[in-house]
């Protein structure tokens, strides 16, 4: 997997690069600001991009804007955005910016869980959607009537679905059988009036769209 990294903090940037190399991925460029990111992507055509939200020169949301621009220019380019603050607003802007390629929005802290982080990046590169549990928690925290009809277990499953987990991963996390997960999913999709879709990718989009109202 060929990766471009954009992150202005040198320790974190080099750390991510080292960690990806450790797992056998190729870091083709590691840059420190948004213009350099756009240039590196144009030059290297990577399989996936990892970018911080806040970068020079404005220290505002240059990374996020660059990610959105990259997805607009190349709908097949998977992008994982890292942020010190997970806010629904930023997540929504990123998720709305494209519908085909993989996309991810994670709290920067998740880098510490090295294996999980690399796994999330691989899933994004494979075209999946990965959403930080914190964003999902915020979305679930909003009062929405149909959610009240879910059982606690169904809510747990819904949260993991919204994070972009596969049935297998959900089963592993909740320590239940995959068949049980499938049953919960069928039940909660019915309660929320969502189409029973086998495609993980389309399903997570539907769930997120529902949660965001």
């Amino acid at each position: 997997m060929r990766v471009v990294i954009a992150e202005d903090g040198v320790i974190v940037r080099e750390g991510i690069a080292g960690m990806l190399r450790h797992f056998g991925h190729e870091v083709v460029a590691a840059v420190a600001d948004a213009p350099a990111l756009l240039a590196a992507v144009a030059e290297h055509r990577p399989d996936v991009v990892v970018t911080d939200v806040r970068m020079p020169p404005g220290f505002s949301d240059e990374g996020l804007q660059a990610a959105i621009a990259l997805r607009a220019a190349d709908p097949d380019l998977p992008v994982l955005v890292l942020s010190q603050y997970v806010e629904q607003t930023y997540a929504a802007e990123l998720l709305d910016s494209g519908h085909t390629a993989g996309v991810g929005y994670l709290l920067k802290d998740r880098i510490g869980e090295v294996a999980e982080f690399v796994d999330a990046l691989v899933r994004v590169a494979a075209g999946r959607t990965v959403v930080d549990p914190e964003v999902v928690r915020q979305l679930l925290g909003r009062r929405r009537d149909p959610l009240g009809r879910l059982t606690p277990r169904e809510r747990e499953v819904l949260a993991l679905m919204a994070e972009g987990r596969s049935n297998t991963a959900i089963a592993r996390t909740l320590v239940v059988s995959e068949a049980a997960v499938a049953k919960h999913i069928g039940s909660l999709l019915a309660k929320l009036d969502l189409p029973p879709d086998v495609d993980d990718h389309r399903r997570v989009r539907a769930v997120l769209a529902f949660l965001r109202g």
Partner: protein, 412 residues
């Protein structure tokens, strides 16, 4: 009692009063008053005449204008002169013009009440006061002089009468000092009443005061942003790097080994510290507020609240920074109060701009009985709103529901 003005001086012991400078200063004050009064009469008549003659030409207006503004000059002279009989300096009631130059100055002066009060004073001074000054000064000077020089020019009365009278001049002077000083004191008091700044004039000062308060609020906000950025670029980055290094170290260690357990615990600590730091930074200054505005920031704050929150935010475009910051922290504080005290199961935030004011309602279905007297949450919130000239209204009957209504002028 310290003697501050001519009227106070009258209460001094006669020996001290008569040897003090107060009678002489009073005399000087009244002489000046008479002279200024007569000069004003002459000047006003000339200016009005010039205005009348020249009003065919537009220049004539200047004559009338100068008449109106003569009060400003007289007022200024009077305030300066008053120090003769009043130790307490009289502040200038005028405000500074917004811009340099004659035109802004004229517009500013003509709009001020103080200008018209000064004109009134000038008229009273010219029509009444200066004549009375002249009479008092005249009497006070004329009577002793007449008596003193009586033996030289008075051929009709015998020296047996005029000489003892002349010798009594000091006594007459001593007696005359009292009405002179009394009139000077009374006149100064009148002038003070008309020429001192009034609360209406102090509108200017209030405006200046709230401007300086607004500057202070802005300064705090700039400082908070700086702190947020320092924490983000410094501590937060390093903690992320630390957590990552620990994660990498863990990869090298056999799972379940004592070292791996220690490293995992250390990493957990780093994660918790990061989470705490993130909450701290959000409290200092939320980045999304600067980047995306009030509606987005309130939406995210609602997402963080432990109680489910319904949102109805009708906010198009951005509001002034200070308004957004105040409103945001009001919502955060109010939602924190809901979570802490109300036992509510749901809350609602509505916001909209009507008539140039931001209206903000935060309600909950909790047990009510919120009391601004207890706890600092509500008063702190009111302080924050007051700093941007807003108002807070709270309705929280025992048993609920609680409604907090906030209005902040936003000039749009």
């Amino acid at each position: 009692m310290p003697v501050r003005n001519a009227l106070d001086a009258l209460t001094m012991r006669p020996t001290r009063f008569l040897t003090s400078s107060w009678p002489w200063r009073s005399l000087a004050y009244l002489t000046g008053g008479a002279m200024i009064g007569f000069a004003t009469i002459v000047a006003t008549v000339l200016l009005l005449a010039a205005g009348a003659v020249l009003s065919v030409v537009v220049v004539g207006i200047a004559g009338y204008l100068a008449t109106v503004l003569s009060g400003v000059a007289v007022g200024r002279l009077e305030r300066w002169r008053m120090r003769l009989v009043d130790r307490e300096e009289l502040p200038d009631p005028h405000r500074a013009p917004a811009a340099p130059g004659l035109r802004p100055w004229l517009m500013c002066r003509l709009r001020e009440q103080a200008t018209w009060r000064e004109l009134g004073y000038t008229m009273i001074s010219a029509l009444v006061l200066c004549w009375m000054d002249a009479v008092v000064v005249g009497a006070a000077v004329f009577a002793p002089t007449t008596v003193l020089f009586g033996p030289f020019y008075n051929r009709e009365d015998s020296l047996w009468l005029t000489v003892p009278l002349a010798l009594s001049t000091p006594a007459i002077l001593a007696v005359a000092a009292y009405p002179v000083t009394a009139w000077a004191g009374a006149r100064a008091a009148m002038a003070r009443a008309l020429l001192a700044p009034r609360s209406d004039d102090s509108d200017a000062k209030l405006v200046e005061l709230s401007r300086s308060r607004a500057r202070l609020v802005d300064a705090f906000e700039v400082e908070r942003r700086r702190i947020e950025r320092d924490l983000h670029d410094g501590a937060q980055q390093r903690l992320v790097a630390l957590s990552m290094q620990l994660g990498l170290a863990r990869l090298e260690l056999a799972a379940g080994s004592p070292a791996a357990v220690q490293v995992t615990a250390a990493q957990q600590l780093a994660k918790e510290t990061l989470a705490e730091l993130r909450e701290l930074i959000r409290g200092v200054h939320p980045k999304v507020l600067t980047d995306r505005g009030l509606a987005a920031a309130v939406g995210d704050a609602a997402g963080h609240a432990p109680v489910p929150v319904d949102l109805d935010l009708r906010l198009d475009g951005r509001l002034p920074d200070a308004v957004e910051v105040a409103a945001y922290f009001v919502v955060v504080e109010a939602l924190a109060n809901v979570a802490k005290h109300s036992a509510a199961t749901r809350a609602a935030v509505t916001a909209g701009v009507r008539g140039g004011r931001l209206h903000l309602d935060i309600r909950d279905d909790g047990r009510g009985g919120a009391d601004p007297e207890r706890g600092t949450g509500l008063t702190g919130l009111a302080d924050r709103v007051a700093a941007v000239d807003g108002t807070v209204a709270l309705s929280s009957p025992p048993g609920g529901p609680t409604l907090l209504h906030v209005e902040i002028p936003c000039g749009s």
